[in-house]
Structures are given as C-alpha cells and as structure tokens.
Symmetry: D2
Subunit: 455 residues, 4 copies
C-alpha cells in the first residue's frame, strides 16, 4: 500500500536496526524509548494527515512514476499546480499543531523515488559536514574527514567516510539521503543508504522536550516537536552503485543546490507561517482570558503578526507560482522569495515572542507547576489566585499561560528558535542568496537610464 498509516510507519521503524547513541548509551529500541516519543509522533502526523478524509484531495496524488495513488509527501512535483497544492497541504499540516514534522526533505532525484513512493517513506537528510575551520575550504582542514568523502571506489559500489551534523529526526526515517557537494571529485558525492548499514553511527541529542508528557505544563512540546537531533558518523560505509546518484560529476552543482535550498526554505516558510498562526492565537487567547482582548496594544500586536504571517505565506505562494521546470521534469519552486522568507521569519520570531509575553504578563515565567496546581497542599490557593475574567475556568487560563511558556520560555522554545535561525543553513547564507538571485545588474541598468547615463 503506497499510502501508509501512522502504525505502518512505526512498524517500519521497528524493523530497522540503526546504531544509535544518546547520552553515551546505545539505544536498541528507539520506538519505545521516551526520548524519541514526540519526535516520532511529530513525523507520524504526516501519515495521519494522509488518511484524514478532510484533506485527501491535498494529501494524495496519482504518481505518474509508479501509476498509483501516493502520498503527496513523496510526490515529485511537475508543475505549478503541484506546487500550489503542496503549499496548501503544508498549510493543512499547520492545523495539526505540530511545529515540525520533518517531511521537508525529499529525494527528488532517482530510481529510489519509486521505492519511496511505494512504501511511503520518510527520507532522512544529511547535508552539512562538520567543516572544522569554516574560513577554510575542504582542502584547508587538518583532518580530511571534516568533509564527507569517497575513500574507495569498487566494482560494486563506493566506500565513504566522514560525518553529517544537524540531522534532525534522522534515526526515525526510512532511508538516508546524503550529499556532499564540494568541488573536488572525492568530495562530490550523493547517495541513499539504509539507516542500519554497517559503519553508520547516530550520536543523538535528547530532545528539547519533556521525556514524560506533562500535558498541562508543556501542552505542545509534550506532544509534538521535540525532535531528536543527531550527528551521523560514516566510518567506511559501503554504498552500492545503484544507490549512488552523484560521484564526482561536478556540473550542475549550482542547480542542484538551488533546488534543494528552495525546496527546504519553501517548507520552512509554511512551517513558520503555521507557527505564527499559533502565536496570534495564543496572544488573542491570553488577552481574552485576562480580560483585555480589545486593548489597543493587543489589537496592534495581532495586526503586526497577521501582516508578517500574510507576507510569509505570500513568499511560499510566489515561489510555487514562479517555479521552473528542470530538464529532468522536476518542478522546483523559485528560491529567492523563500530565501527572503526564511530570513524574515528568523528575525521575526523574537518579536512574536515579545508580543506573546507582553500580552500574557509575568505569570509566563512565574506560574507554579502542575504538581502544585493539582496538589492537595497549595492547589486550592492557586485555584483562587490564578482566576482570570469571569466565565473562564481557572484551569483554562492556566493552560493558556503554560502554552505561552511552552512556546517562548521552555527548552523546546529554545530549540525551535535555533531551528528558525540556523535550520537548513544560516540566515546569513540565505540573505546572501537573495542578493545573488536578484538581478542587480538589471537594477543598475535601470538606475543608469533614470540618471541619464548613456553607456
């Protein structure tokens, strides 16, 4: 069946045996390990969505490649309509609350796509090598492994060595898509590999989320978004040729990078748009519960965030509409608008949090815990003194504060902030990308015409 359920996804994880470490210990069964709970649940949301009758028109599509109905998350886009539909699918996902489902990586490139579509895989990505001294290129490092590279070419495949940092969610995907694109033959390589291939080690960071659900305390991050980050180390890993899609053919690198970046940033714009909607809602909710829903500074804050959200969504739509078709038939969104959107979104996060917290007030940081609130000792006092406006159950007001704490002042909030700024590449990089994509020379020519300069 080419569209999986949440259960089928989890089952597939059980069949994989990756070599996973966290806090210095090996984890054999990650599916049942508390540190992986919210990460897997977050990814699973995309499978729920694929089976939600309300969204079937968006979530499923007929694959021209395998001739079956597949999940749109594994679909290779062919045109603008595809891109618009996917933008809407991302918006629908936003309604599922999950701040990050990690379906933004796609293996748009190969035979493997058929298998991915048939099995409705989640593909894990590894793009960024550790790099050591960032000011020096691949050749300037004292350790040749600071960038991933081919150490041997054999008749039946290649052997690779190195590491990939910042691989969100990687241990609970179904297939890894690894790329290095430095301009040296051995350092220009792309391949797919199962997670449990020999020589691969995942060194994981426990999620920025509570291990045991605290449904009042961390209402969002107890359920979603607490992804596990990992560094994937490749210690002489063998990859058969049929899973290698790049190996030293360095033309087209810019194009490939552009497609990858555009696709990732496009998803990021919509993720942040969904999150902005949650910020707007949380601000409106707490203001309402505090009795100040109509205060001018609240209305102003909501308007400001709504402006930002509309602009961000516009970036995603513009990228979808102004995309282009690669020779391979793949339709790619345009990079510039979503690179702009990424930078914009990263900068605006601090502002959104300012609005939420300023609307809520000090209790965001000072409210007692759920253990207090539900305790026989002091629970009654809190029930008395945490009341808001008449008609709002105190527990609901407490939940609204805890949501804002989860969104702005929790460990999860910290992780999400970092994701917004650095996820998919530094904001500074994307800022430069927009400048390069923009046709400055056309602008200069226009300025010359305006100035009456003839040359």
């Amino acid at each position: 069946m080419s569209v999986r359920t949440r259960e089928a996804y989890v089952d597939s994880l059980r069949r994989q045996k990756p070599n996973v470490y966290m806090d210095g210990k090996r984890i054999d069964n990650l599916v049942d390990h508390p540190a992986f709970r919210t990460g897997i649940d977050s990814a699973a949301v995309t499978y729920d969505l694929s089976n939600d009758p309300k969204y079937l028109h968006l979530s499923r599509v007929n694959s021209p490649i395998i001739g079956q109905e597949i999940s749109r998350w594994t679909h290779i886009m062919e045109n603008e309509q595809d891109a618009i539909a996917k933008t809407k699918l991302m918006a629908a996902l936003g309604e599922y609350l999950c701040p990050c489902s990690y379906r933004c990586i796609t293996g748009d490139v190969l035979e493997i796509v058929k298998e991915a579509q048939k099995n409705d895989w989640i593909i894990g990505g590894g793009l960024i090598s550790p790099k050591g001294d960032s000011s020096k290129g691949v050749t300037g490092q004292s350790d040749p492994d600071m960038y991933l590279h081919v150490v041997e070419k054999k008749a039946d495949g290649i052997v690779v060595k190195g590491a990939k940092a910042h691989s969100t969610a990687a241990p609970y995907t179904n297939m890894l898509c690894i790329e290095e694109m430095e301009l040296l033959p051995d350092y220009f390589v792309g391949f797919f590999t199962p997670l449990d291939a020999e020589g691969i080690t995942f060194i994981c960071k426990a999620p920025h989320a509570p291990e045991k659900p605290k449904e009042l305390e961390n209402p969002l991050s107890s359920r979603f978004g607490g992804h596990v980050e990992s560094m994937i180390v490749f210690d002489n890993v063998f990859v058969p040729w049929e899973k290698v899609f790049m190996c030293g053919e360095m033309e087209g690198v810019a194009t490939f990078g552009t497609i990858l970046g555009a696709s990732h940033m496009w998803h990021k714009c919509m993720c942040r748009w969904a999150n902005m909607g949650l910020s707007i809602g949380a601000t409106a909710l707490i203001a309402d519960f505090n009795g100040v829903g109509a205060a001018p500074h609240i209305v102003d804050a909501l308007n400001e965030m709504a402006i930002d959200a509309e602009m961000l969504r516009s970036c995603a739509l513009a990228a979808a509409v102004e995309g282009w078709k690669h020779d391979s038939g793949v339709y790619a969104p345009r990079l510039a608008p979503v690179a702009a959107g990424k930078v914009f979104a990263a900068r605006k996060l601090g502002e959104d949090r300012y609005y939420m917290q300023d609307a809520a007030g000090g209790l965001v940081a000072t409210m007692a815990s759920e253990l207090d609130y539900f305790s026989p000792t002091v629970g009654k006092l809190l029930e008395k003194y945490y009341r808001g406006r008449d008609g709002v159950p105190t527990a609901d007001r407490v939940r609204a504060f805890k949501l804002i704490e989860d969104l702005t002042a929790s460990e999860f909030a910290g992780w999400y902030h970092a994701m917004c700024i650095s996820g998919g590449g530094a904001s500074q990089t994307y800022k430069a990308v927009v400048g390069m994509e923009y046709d400055i020379e056309r602008c200069k020519a226009k300025a010359k015409r305006a100035a009456g300069i003839r040359q």
Copy 2:
C-alpha cells in the same frame, strides 16, 4: 481604435474643458501648461507600453465584453491567469522608470466599461471626502457637505454636492469615477461623470517636480512622477441616471470596498517593488562609481533591499493567485497580502533611503547645481574635484549623485514618501484591515487545541 497611442491620449485631453485652478489662477490649456507636463507624461507611459512590441503579449488582451483587442489597463479580470498577467504587466511598467503612472484606478463596474475599453480611457477617481472631524461620522459634522451627497433626485438623474480630496492626476484623465459609501441613503452614491460637467471645479496643487526640465539636476522627476494632486469640488453637479451605479443600495458595500482596496494596494505593491529595484540599482551604481562596490556594508544593503523587494513582489503574486470571483464575474485579487505589502512598503521607504544615502555620502546634499557644473567660471573645478574611480566619467558620477538626490532629497522625494504612506488610504487603516482579514478566531481555536483547552 481600442488601444490608443500617447498622442491620441493627449489629443483627448485637448478636447476636454475642465474647470481647473492652480495657485489661484484658472488654467485653460493644461496640456501645454508646464505644471502638467510630467504628470501627463507619466500617465502616457502606459500608452507607450501598450504599443511596445516587446510587451504586446502582456499589454493587450481580447475583451470578452466588446469582442475587440483592448489594453489590459481597461480589461476586467476574469480569473487568476488575468491577475498573473497583470502583475507581469505592472512589472514591465516598472522598467519604464515611471514611479507612478496612475492607471491603478479602474471602473470595474458598469456599462461605462464598454466605452472605456473602446476608447482606452484613463479613469480618474474620487473616493475620499474631506471629513472634517475624523472622529465623528457623516452625521456628526457641522457642515453636511464634508461628505459628498445627493441633494436631489430627478426623473433623469441626480444632483450631487461635496468634494473629493487627494485626487491624483484627475484633471488629465478621461472620465471620473466618484464614490461615497457612508451608510446613509443620500451619502451612498457612485457615478461616472465627464470632467467638464457643469459645477465641477478642480483645485490643483503644483507638482513636486521642476516646472522646467533639469535633466542633470532632477533626472527622474524632470521626466516622470510629478503628478498634479487636486481636490474636486462638486457644486450641485447633475449626473444622468445612466452614469449612476450606486444610489442608496447599501448592501454589498463591504465587498465593494474590499475589491477597490485590494485592487489599489495590489498596484501599489508592484509600484513600490519597481521603485525598490531603482533603489537597489542606484545604491549599486554609486558604490561602484565611488570605488566601493564590493564593500561589505554595500553588499549587505543590497541584500536587505533585495529581500524586501522579493517579499513585496510575493505579496502581489499571492494576491493574484489567491483571488476570488465576484458574482458579477469580476476576479479580484485577495486583499490581505497586498494590504500587508502596502504597510511593509511604506515602512521600508525610510530604510531604502538610508541605504542609498549612506552608500553615496554627503554629496547627495551638498553637490553644486548643474548651473555650476556647466558654468565657465567654476565648472572646471567641479570637473576636477567630483571625479570618482578611474574609468568613470565625472559627469556620470555627478548624474548618479543627482539621481539619489532626486530619489531621496528632492521635493519629488517628499511627495513620493507621502504617497507611499498615505496614498490609497492611511497605512494604519490597512494594518487594521490585515488583522480583520486574518482569521483570528481560527488561530484562537488552534491555540486552545495546543493548550489542551476543551470548549
């Protein structure tokens, strides 16, 4: 002929005999009056564009209403494709340097459209009454004429009284489209009228542009953008019923307002986008001429402006793609993205000017005049001391400075700033509009789900 030339447009103006005053004096022949030169030239650019072979695919369209090829500026949009094409046409217009051609007002509503299409008219607009005390509505004013209203209904038409402020370019359009939409029967009226109907007086403000062209001194505003602003006074003007399209039928007012606002802001986004391109070009040009084109702060400024320009263009595209079809068959762009874009653009103008001036340096404000530069007395000294990097003719560098002065520190720059902030309505109004268009209740519901609040 349904697509006019610049000449045909100017001829049509000669045949009109509006009652026009400026600086206290009546102007009989405005076509040849210096104060109207750049305004008329700016509007005429749209006719040049309609006849430019390079852009015919964008500028012309077959009218389903009159069954002839017409100018897209008079076309009633029917679908998303129309909207995307028009967005591209606006972008093409941006290449013509003209900061404002005033073709953003369209009479989308009536029989009159056929005539407008056949004759390729420019329609002038009058929407905003003087209002007196803004805090009071139509009924709170001491003078009933502070809002335009119907003073008499006759068998063959109506008689109206009042005034319309802020009518850019009105005296050199071909037909006025006047609306008042207050919720009192006599104050809810819309009609077309020729400019020279009895009882109409235009009180004009001389343009913020040099009367005599100073091609070095004011390279842009000597040619384009110096529009004449006017207040149009209606002193018991008679309008026959066939030109009246609203008269007391107050349903649908919100819809109509939304369409008008969306259409206007959509054009504004693309105008400002074109202008941002000019800011980018001017910054890059002066930096190049000063020998610092690759300085990090210049690159950074260009990147920042490119981000803003991409976002603004994305707003216009998103509005085009996410538009909706009115019962009448008219396709309207979505309001929220372009209202957001308007506010964004208005705020960014100050920043663009900061970048341009900081890149250029003090000569923007202190450079001697063209009379000095071309003079036998001190011209040689200026030629010597105004030199920039080798290979750049001094005159070209002077022109680049003068362009930035024209764009940031001239009277025209002042007018353009005001247009960006208040043109088509106050930024504050559009800020509120985005908030109202955004579905805050949906966001609140989402926040409740996230917080675990069940009600």
Copy 3:
C-alpha cells in the same frame, strides 16, 4: 558587622523558617535544596562583590543614617554622585557573570532601613497582586482578595489578606517589603514583614536551570541566574504598626510609584547591558573558534550589539544624572530614560539571540550532550568532528557552543526572556510611561510656533 559575607548571608537564611512549597511539597531546608542552589548563589554574588578588594570603592559607602560603613546595596542615595557610583557598581556586578542577583529591590522608605543597613539585608519585594480580570479595577473583581488588602486594624497593628505574584527570589531574602497602591483606603497599604510570619505561604516554581550542575552543558545557568519565582499568599497576616509605612494615606502615590519604577528599571537597564556584553563576547568567541571572526556579517553583528549596549548604558547614566531629590532626602533616578531603556532592551533580546545563533550555526541546537562528549563510546568521534580552527581545543569550542545554547536555547534562556519583557511590569506599561513623562504639550507648543499658529 554591617557588610556581610556570602557565608553570613547563607547563615541568615538558615535561621529563617518560611513556609515554602514547591511542586506540591513543603521544603523545610531551602538552603540545601537543589532547586534553590543557583538562586541563592546569584544573590550571594552581591556579597562577594562587597568584599572584593577591587571594588571596595564602589561597593561600600558610609551611611549617613547609621554612621557606619555599609554595603552600597542598602544605601539610600542622596545625590547624583551616589547614583553614578551605583551605576558603576551595577556595571561591576555585570563582570561577575551573574545575569540577575536580585538586589534591585530596596526598601527606601523607613526606620527599617537602619536595620537593613546594619544587617546588610536583602529585601524581597511583593508589588503585583493577581488582579483576576485585568480590565476591571480593584472593585470589579468577584473575589475581594484578588488585590491585597487590610482586613482589620488593631491597636498594635494590621491584618492583611491577599497574594503577591511574581516575587523573584523572595524565599531567600531577609525581609519582605509588600505594597498595594490601589485608590481605596483598605487597598492602599505598605509594610515590612519577616518571611516566617504566621499566615505567609510561598508557592514556588522550580528554577529554569539544572538542579544538578552541568558545568559543560549549562555553563552559566548551572551557576547563576536560576532564580526561584514565587507567589506569596497572605492569609490574615498580622503586621505590627512599626513595620507599616503606608495605610490609607493615598497622597503621594504617584510619586512613590515613580520612584519604585525608576529604581527598578534603572537596575534592569544595567543588567541587560551586562547581558548584552556577554552576547557580544559569545558571538565574537564562537566566530573566532569557527575561524570566521573577521567575516563582515560578524563584525556587523558585533557593531549592532555594541550600539545597543552603549545606548542602554546611556539610559542608566542619564537617569542617574538627571535624577531628583524627594522631600525625604532620597535621590531618585529619572524614570523616563530607564523606562525607555527597559522597552528597548526587551525588544532587542530577540535580535541579540539571532546574532549569536546565526554566528554559531546549527550546533547550538544539535550538539550532543556532555554525557556523550565525555563517554568512552562516542566521545572520541565527537572530539574528532567537533574540532574548529587549528589552535582551539575542541573542548573549548564545545564550551562556547554550550554557552550560546545556555544563553539562547535553554530553559534558563526562556526564563530570562520573560524577565526582560515582563519583569518589573509589562513593556507596554513602560512604553506608556515614557509617553506620559514626556512633555507632549511642550512639544505641541513648539510645533505651533514652528507652524506659525498663534494661540
């Protein structure tokens, strides 16, 4: 001895027996409870400073009240020189790394001052009542206890009921200073009380900091800044008249509020200034370790933060210099500059974090834990792949990343963010305060003169 050591301070805490709850459980010995460790250490820093030979000229002063050398933290300022010295003392404290020592509350008002000076007390504050429905005043609440109030006046003292929210650090201070300043006689009251008076309950929130020190993982918040927040409930607490300093005398309320707000915001400006210095340092450090210390965007980020830091420090200095002397002889800093600084600082925090994270890159969120880094299993791999530029020990680079994680993406970071925005009152409130302090009428008169309006 009127200047205490850290040890004397801790001893004094041992002698107090407040009624403290956390997570539903009573805590008898808070000095040795892990949740109070960093909070007490943070407060103790001020005692270290008072005994640091390097800063004695700032930290000690002769008290004109008790005629002994005392700590400047308990000194009542008398003039501008005092205010400048205290500004310098706050700057010195900033060098101690501690993001918040909670010595910003002072009991400037009474006899109790003598005792505070003699004993070098930390005074705890309680100013903000729960308030319930914020849109309604004290009289509009359904529960009269939503604001603290006098329930009985006796011959020897008063009995009070209610609660104070947001009392940072209260359980480990030496004396509470509680105020309610609503304009109803029973709701206008101010008094001192020992923490362990009968009827007082502290309901505490565990700090946003690791209970067990993780010196690599949370290098800052393992040591400092993890303050305990509490709500203090007063259940018919008796206060003898000699500790009551306000009881129904409602004149002078505005003045008193102004002094309190100014004093608190003045400290806040310098706290944030110190924290900005740490942001600047952390950004410079990680960029250096990554090999990109001279990259233009890093230099630009440092410059931007330096500008903000200079401005914030200027606010504190201006408040010190332009202060005023109350009839009582107390010198108070001017409110407007530091209220402006508070709003500025709250807004800039998101930006500072953007710079830090953008300079550092993804490892801020994705770096493995210290348990991994020091583990025999994967530690070697991390040592290999976490290397930065030559000459920098990998462990140092790891520490620099962890510092930025602690500053931007930890629970502590979340708490600190909330403190910046809401601590001492909502930013929105202080924004309004600046507007009220500014002499708008003088500005209007000036505008009239400029416009030539004579009236």
Copy 4:
C-alpha cells in the same frame, strides 16, 4: 565685546570678502542675497540665545583663557560640569525651532581660540576632501589634489592645495578651520584661515529652502535651516605659521579624530533630539486638529517617538558625564555613546516621518498652495473643505499640515534627511566606530569565563 549680538555677527559678515559662487555666478554681497537668508538667520539664532535673559546662565561662561565672560559656544570645556551645561544649552537651542545652527564646529586647539572668544566668532569647518576613488587611499589617486596637501613650506608659512567638500554654512562663518589627517607628511595639516584669503573659492549650492519666505507654505524652512552647502577650493593658498596647528606631526592623530568626532556627534544627538520633539509635537497637533488625538495608534506613535527621544538625549548626557580630559586640559565627551546615537537617529528619521504622515493623512501631499488658499477664486472653497474639528480655525489646521509637509515632504526635508545620515561622516563609519570603541576583548574574556574556558 566678547558676546556678540545677531547684528554684530551680520556686520562681521559684511566686512568679509570671500570669493563665493552659486549657480555659476559670483556673489559679492551674500548678506543680502536671498539664498543666504535662512542660513545666516539659523546661525544668528545662537547669538539671540546668548542674549536671551532666560538662558544667560547657560549661554555665557567666564573664560579661564581670556578672563572675560564669553559665549559658551566658544568656550573650551574643562570638565563634566561644562559638558552638562553645554548639553543643556543645546537643548535650549532646540526650543528656538532652528533645526541646525551650525555652532557644532569648534576650534579647540590653539592661540586662535583667544581671538575666537574675544570676537565670539563662528568657526567654519573643512574636514572631508573629495577623495575620488574611495577604495584607494591618498596615494592611490590619479590626481594628487583629491586630498588637500602642503605644496610648499616657506619661512613665514605654508602653501596648500586641494578642496574640502560638504562645508555647511562656511561662507557665513568668521574663520575657517581646515584639517587633513592622512598619514603622509604633506597630507597631515591643520590650519586656520580667514575666508577671504587669496586663492580660496567657495562653490555653493543654493539652500533646500524657498528663496522668498512662504510663511504658510514652508513655515519652518522659510525661516530656519536652509543652510548653504559649499565646496571650498584651495588653489595654492598661503597660511602663515601662526595659524598652522598641525603640519606633519602625525602622532596623536587618532586622539584628535576621536575628539572631533565625539564633539560633532554629541551636537548631532541633541539636534536630532530637538527635531524629534518637533515631530512629536507635530504629530500630536495634527491628530488633535483632525479630532483623533486620543486614537490608540496616535498615542502609540507618540510613545514610540518619546522613547527614541529619551534614548538619544541619554546618549548625549552619557557622553558628557563619561568624558575625559586631554593633556591639553580640554574635556572631551566620550565618543561611543554619541556615535551610537548618531546611527540610531539617522535610522529613526524615516520612522518619525512615517508616524507624522500616517497621523496627518493624504493632505500632507495634496493640499493646495497658499496662493490658492488666499485667492479670491477658490479660497472660499478651501476654507469650507479644509475644516477640521470644531473649535480649530481652518487656517490653523492648514498650517499644521504645511508644517508636516515642510518637515517630511519638502526640499528642506530632503536636505535634512541627508544631513542626518551623512552629516559629519557616514552612518556606516560611526557604526564601525562604536564597535571599535567597545571593548570586544573584555566581552570575549567574560564569555570565556561564562563558558568555563580557562586560557
């Protein structure tokens, strides 16, 4: 008499015979030339202030150098008290409406000071050479005169050649103070010279202000602020040794540059502060006249501008308080706070204008001229339709709009914008200055301590 009147100042100008050109023509009598009217009046305001009984305590001071009462504008500061008094004097000047009086240049260096104090001179400055290709230093230019330099040293003096750009107000000062500080002996020179020394030519730019006063149309720039800019060309000008204060002695250059920059930026902060007050007043006034003085977005705009103004003033005060004493005995304000303030102020100008225009609405750009308003033809119509709220004379409302037009959308507004951004040096330069003044190494050391890095 060591404190002059306005009349004495103007008389002194009549006695000077500088070689002045404007628009290609020589101007013999600049005092009576309309282009110099507002410039001279603006400078003269400082003399009015020196004789205004209300401000004598600020405007006059006893000179320790010549032992007479002098104007504070010519006083050499000796300590913090001097600096605070001067800050207050600048604030007082701000009440005189004049946006720029050009008394910010002081000749702090020499014997000439005595003469300046005795005669209460205005000193004109020339600091910035044309520079040609900015990317190349003094040695990289194809024309050696792109930087001013010594061409000959004689027994009795030196001969200099070159030019100084951007010399605001120079032709109506009493003595020029010229500096070049490049690190080549011939290009390191500083001297005083009378304006009418042989070989000096002023090439002037007509002011961005109306030649004939339009008291309703340009209420501010008709009176003040329309300064004449000039390039001063030195064609082998002889300077006697007694007026030369630097000639090849290149030590101390950094110090001297720091003092100059700090002094200039300090004045700039207070100028912009005064101007912000005018923006606040104009916004409050027009909102009041429009009947919306209490609208939340107006209050918010006023609060925002008040915050900015307080911060800017704080920068000036902090610089005064934290200044330092040069070996020569001169007290200099600290550079960093006012360099920060300059950048801040330059960026905020666009925002201030946004607030003013958004509060005022479209009439800022579209209001008819004073010729219309006072005309018998259409004046009555304007009187009727330009009415605001009851109780406000229409003429007053018109004046308020015209003031905002003058402040935001006039030629003067353009010049003022350029002055804010580039005046006294590019904002980019001062941004870098703050970064250099800030002790980044101290911050890094602090970050290391916080991170637990021991080295």
